[in-house]
Amino acid sequence: MKTTTKKIKTWVASATVLTVMLASSAFAQTPKLTDPEIASVAVVANQNDIGFADIAKKKSKNADVLKFADMMSADHKSVIDQAVALVTKLKVTPKDNPLSQKLSSDAANTRKMLESKSAKDFDKAYVDNEVGYHKAVISAVETILVPQAQNAELKALLEKVVPILKMHLSHCEMIQKTIK
């Protein structure tokens, strides 16, 4: 029994590390992006986290995790709404690109991993993924998307997202400490 538990724990840890590595590697292989491509990356990154939250709301029984998932859904939807409003105003059509495609495919793998978790293991897997995902996205926004954005309003919107992501990160790190 102990060996099985240990194996499960090791597998969960490996899967989490893999998820974070995928998210990080997607951003690490970044080509030069145009504003329509940056807009697409921003929308996909937010959509991914809404997708993870949807699974959490379905599978978790932990009040803190459920509250966090609600916050993720609401906040990332709000960011998408404002990003879409801005690109509509600027007459920019978000353009699919290798980075946004990689983010989407990595997120599909993460969703599969989360769906496969037992109720017992889910909370840790979800929260660990949230911590890694937010770190990777914050780094990408600060070092890739903001510096490469050409339009001042798009740049300002991306800069405005960073404190939101940092608040999310500190919140899920706090929950992470309470989950064994």
């Binding site: 609401a74 709000s78 960011v79 404002q82 405005k160 997202v161 939101i164 940092k166 919140h171």
Partner: protein
């Protein structure tokens, strides 16, 4: 009419005119802000009334931006009003932290909420619980 009567009439007229002039000067002087007069008790009563009056309520604004309340701490008097305005991209609320005795509606971006303050309070956003603020009633 004799000359003596005319002189007497002129004297009376002069005295009357002089008295009117003196009275007028004295009256105007008493109305002057720096003047000394027997009406000095009136401004004293007025000052006492003003001292008892409460100052007019003041309106303060707290902006919610970059996931913070700005200013985080605000000093007011009871009866003053505070308006919170959400400048962030996400919804927030404003909730008393102790017993949750008061809370705002959910404030979508660019929406605001106003409250008349009656006592000091620690408050926070109960959507993003790391966001905290303080009202001090002096």
């Amino acid at each position: 009419m004799s000359l003596a009567v005319i002189k007497l009439k002129n004297s009376i007229c002069f005295i009357l005119f002089f008295s009117v002039v003196l009275f007028s000067i004295a009256f105007l002087n008493s109305c002057s802000p720096n003047g000394q007069s027997d009406f000095s008790s009136v401004p004293k009563a007025d000052t006492a009334t003003k001292a008892n009056e409460k100052p007019a309520p003041i309106s303060y604004t707290v902006e919610i931006k970059a996931m913070k309340f700005e200013p985080e701490e605000i000093k007011v008097h009871a009866g003053d009003t505070v308006t919170w305005i959400n400048r962030d991209m996400v919804a927030h609320n404003v909730t008393e932290e102790g017993t949750k005795i008061w809370t705002s509606d959910v404030l979508s971006p660019d929406k605001s909420w106003r409250m008349a303050v009656t006592k000091s309070a620690d408050y926070y956003c109960n959507i993003h619980t790391g966001m905290k603020g303080k009202i001090i009633v002096e």
